[in-house]
Amino acid sequence: METKTIINYTHRQAGHCESGATSNLFKFNGLEISEPMAFGIGNGLYFSYIPFLKIQFAPMISFRNLPNTVFKRSTAYLGIDATVVKKIKDPEDAMNLLDRNLENGIPTGCQVGVFQLTFFPPEYRMHYNMHNLVVFGKDGNMYHVSDTVMELPQLITREDLLRVRYAKGAFAPQGKMYWINHAISKPIDLKPAIIKGIKKTVNEMIGIPFPLIGVKGLRWMARDLKKWPKKHGDNKASFYLGQILRMAEDFGTGGAGFRYIYGAFLKEAGELFDNHQELLEASDMMGKTANKWREFTYMGARNCKNRSKPEENYGTLSEKLLEIAAGEEKVYQKLKKIKF
């Protein structure tokens, strides 16, 4: 059956795949929400360090929340009618459901693995399953997709799309898809959603009584980092460090970049709350911490370049991380005290 349906969906590049997709889906449905706004409301900011879990031969570090958090929380907090299908057992069903959505004019977000994502930059194609893209058209066997990492919309065959939607491994997508049900006609007040979003993020970063999550996790990682050269030797320490940096800088913005996005969110929020002084100050502080993250990755990159002869002392790097942790903690403490 030859079918051609291409939805008039605008592709915009973004710093973070899921909040970019979420923001673009909101815009398609008539709600002008920027990427930082979607990221902030949907709790994109996160940190966890799980040294006993190894992913691609290095300790697991995550700068982002679980897949789909941003979409789920931002639609929930904004009170928007959306659907998330978590898991579809039969790949054919998953593709048919996608086709049906496209015929009904609904652009649909999908979680995918990037290893076999044909159009993806080759240097990023490792087994990473938490990527998101939006499918917005179909022409015979070819699907039109909007991937916010890429400059332009892309084409992918049905077989390839099916394969990446059923990539296996940690956080396997299992055909997960999500979409917004109706065009958003009534005006939506962002303020309550912003307050909820900030409270939740503050809680996740400093409120959870578990040492590996949020600022506490960051400190734990800083302390471990110092021990790596002695414990594992210079080569492995450098590889582990590289893994942190890759997580911090990969895919457009990565973890360090998320701090910029969050800062931009705080700024937008501050302007929305009639130039709320404390929010704007917090935004500035966040920007400064984000710059420190970037300094940290520059320092670290020098160690990765010459693996057996580290230029930077791991102690210095660890101190830098502790400084970042302290800086971030101040931002969250400040946000916690704000009375809206």
Binding site: A172, T253, M299, K305
Partner: protein, 140 residues
């Protein structure tokens, strides 16, 4: 560390050139004068070094496994698994068999007794012709 952003930028761009120029991405920046800005650009040279390190490490691991296969300590499955950057749990998930079975298949003794159907399934995951698993020309 008393270095400013400018100094760091100089160091980053001074002696490095871009390794990856397939796609430009959107980056956020912050400074006091302009606040938050966005820019579409290639990944900066510093980050490209980090990405490259990760690929170099993968290559080194592959070379190690290759030596093990030549010595007869590991099976070609171990080689191809490493080649597509997989680990046992992931390969087991694709094979739809328990992890311990995949682990056994990595031994060259067990590998020699594998049935053609099992080999064919491995080959399809590795995206190679079925006979390439038993034909070890790639090691030369």
């Amino acid at each position: 560390m008393g270095s400013t952003r400018d100094e760091i930028d100089d160091k980053a761009t001074g002696d490095d050139e871009l390794i990856y120029t397939y796609n430009r991405e959107l980056f956020y920046h912050f400074d006091k004068e302009n606040g938050y800005t966005q820019k579409v650009d290639y990944q900066n040279p510093c980050n490209q070094v980090i990405i490259k390190q990760s690929w170099d490490a993968a290559e080194e691991r592959l070379e190690e496994v290759k030596q093990m296969v030549i010595l007869g300590k590991s099976s070609p499955i171990a080689y191809y698994m490493e080649k597509i950057l997989m680990e046992v749990p992931m390969l087991a998930a694709y094979m739809e068999i328990p992890k311990w079975r995949v682990r056994r298949h990595l031994k060259s003794k067990v590998f020699k007794k594998l049935k053609p159907e099992v080999l064919a399934k491995y080959a399809s995951i590795f995206e190679i012709p079925a006979d390439q698993l038993t034909n070890q020309d790639y090691l030369k």
